[in-house]
Amino acid sequence: KAEETIKIGSFLAVTGGASFLGDPEKKTLDMYVEKINSEGGVLGRKLELIVYDSGGDPKKAVPFAKRLISDDKVDILLAGSTTGATMAVIPIVEKAGIPFISFGGAGVIINPVKKWVFKTPHTDTLAVQKIYNDMKSRGISKIGLLSGSGGFDKSCRKNVLDLADGAGMGVVADETHGKGDTDMTAQITKIKNSAGVQAMLYCGFGGATSIVAKNFKQLGVDIPHYQTHGSASKSFIKNADGGAEGVRLPAAALVVVDALPDSHPQKKVASAYKKMYEAKTGSEISSFGGHAYDGLMLAVEAITRAGTTDKAAVLAELEKTNNFIGVDGIYTMSPTDHLGLDEASFVMVEVKDGDWKMLK
């Protein structure tokens, strides 16, 4: 029936400690659903978006997922700002059999592959690989690791440790800080004083990224400082109060879109998204909203190709996604790859004069 809407269900960390993820994600979804509807919808049907605020709490995410599936009867889930919330609902999603595109960061979400679960953000695995490659090119082989205690932070830390051997890296210090900590000088001092340390890598996101950068500078540590795509937002640079200078990190092309050459395949998509987001919300883009953009577009693509919202058909089409250009990268999925991005979708950037500078 043409009148029937296509229901998109979502639960996001709109408030709470991870709201810097959920907030732009929600805004992006709202914005583009409206845009798509004004352009006639999908399969001639309007999209209907139902968003619940999980506050980033996995415990709250679970009942919302159940509610979306069995009460709201949505056709697809585009949800889960954090890894924790995503992981908590996976058993439900798998049991119910409904396509689920997560915006959670960690690789564990799709690795091992779960039948119904996809994700759009680059994994920390990719990020760590990218960072290791950059380090190797600078002759760095011994690093000190600092990580926060959130889900993403821990998963990232695990990757750093797991991939180290293969990449010929040695982790000589492994420090963590707590949620809401306001000072990491003790940890950084320890890293600084570890024997043979050549660079520091920080796994984490949110406000802590700036504090780490500030403390790093305050302590006058003079080794290279790496962070992850979790820090890829302008506020990281701004809030670090000068401490971000020289920090290197892998980021989506979206983050440095203005610096991209016109020939870059993502330039067009990313600029359009950036323009629209900034015009509509009046705030600066972050790469997190981009995850939601890609998720929505992937879903729309798959549904359009399938010509139906039948869940199995949409699942099959999602797995057939091929060279889809999103703001996070170019997706090519398969039944064994529910992310579809590779290391190439990251660009390595360095903070220079208060802005991102693309390396090479």
Partner: protein, 291 residues
């Protein structure tokens, strides 16, 4: 080696002073009303976020600070009048729940009015670290320490040597008798919430350059501030300072020498150990209940 220790110490003192300032806010309200105000962390948030907001409007820093503090004090008054006063003689837990409700309410309101991003506030006097014995400390940390010392001395004088201060304490111990002495107890309560809000807001502004600020900043700080206040012995300004520093330093030392993964746990274990040995905190003294 010593430089490392010194660095941990500086780090601990900085964080500890922040906890202490928040803890002081708990102490003041407790002194007047025996209420533990779990919305204290939101005062800290309002101070910081308010300053960011007013600076964003293009106002100069001092004016923004003034307005942010005033805003917080007004919220403090409102909290007392509309949430705490009507439930004055309710049991401890009920009041805890009310103030937790208030903190959720205030956080929700702040998120609605402002955004949910992290913001920084410029340091008061530059951000070039000062080196002492091979360890570095930020000028802002010295600001925090300085203000903490001034505030605690002022509070100590106020509570122990001024009639108004004494009337606040008297009100908390025996509101009926306080009324019979001619103390306007409802005014005392109002003032104590205002004072505590003022302190919380100041803490929020002082630490914003170090810790960044956002609408959720009050949760963890409020909790740690509560630890500081209890550890030192409730209602004792000096105790809150000692408690804050103890928590801060033990966190930093644990992170430095034992395990950063368990630094929060160690801090709490120290608190538990202290309470087990001294059930009324470090400076709480003995109970005075007689039968």
């Amino acid at each position: 080696m010593f430089a490392e220790f010194l660095q941990f110490l500086f780090s601990g003192i900085t964080v500890g002073a922040i906890y202490a300032l928040v803890g002081l806010g708990f102490a003041i309200i407790y002194n007047a009303s025996n209420v533990i105000n779990f919305a204290q962390g939101e005062f800290v948030m309002l101070g910081g976020m308010g300053t960011v907001f007013f600076i964003g409007l293009g106002l100069p820093m001092p004016l923004a600070v003034l307005l942010a503090v005033s805003l917080t004090v007004i919220v403090g008054f409102g909290l007392e009048r509309f949430a705490v006063e009507p439930a004055r003689d309710a049991p401890i837990v009920t009041l805890i729940i009310i103030t937790i409700g208030a903190s959720i309410f205030l956080r929700g309101a702040a998120q609605l009015v402002w955004d949910r991003n992290f913001h920084s506030v410029a340091s008061f006097s530059g951000s070039d670290p000062i080196m002492i014995g091979g360890a570095s400390i930020l000028p802002q940390s010295l600001w925090i320490l300085g203000c903490t010392v001034v505030i605690v001395i002022a509070l100590h004088m106020f509570f122990n040597h001024s009639m108004t201060g004494k009337s606040i304490i008297a009100t908390s111990h025996n509101p009926l008798a306080a009324k019979l002495m001619g103390i306007n107890t409802s005014m005392v309560l109002l003032m104590s919430f205002g004072l505590s809000a003022l302190l919380g807001a100041s803490a929020g502004i002082l630490i914003a350059p170090i810790s960044l600020t956002y609408t959720g900043v009050g949760i963890m700080l409020g909790l740690k501030g509560f630890c500081a206040a209890v550890l030192g012995g409730l209602g004792k300004p000096m105790g809150a300072i000692a408690g804050g520093l103890l928590v801060g330093i033990s966190e930093a030392m644990t992170a430095g020498y034992i395990s950063s993964a368990y630094k929060d746990a160690v801090a709490f274990i120290i608190i538990l150990a202290v309470l087990f040995l001294m059930p009324n905190g470090l400076f709480g003294g003995r109970g005075t209940e007689r039968v």
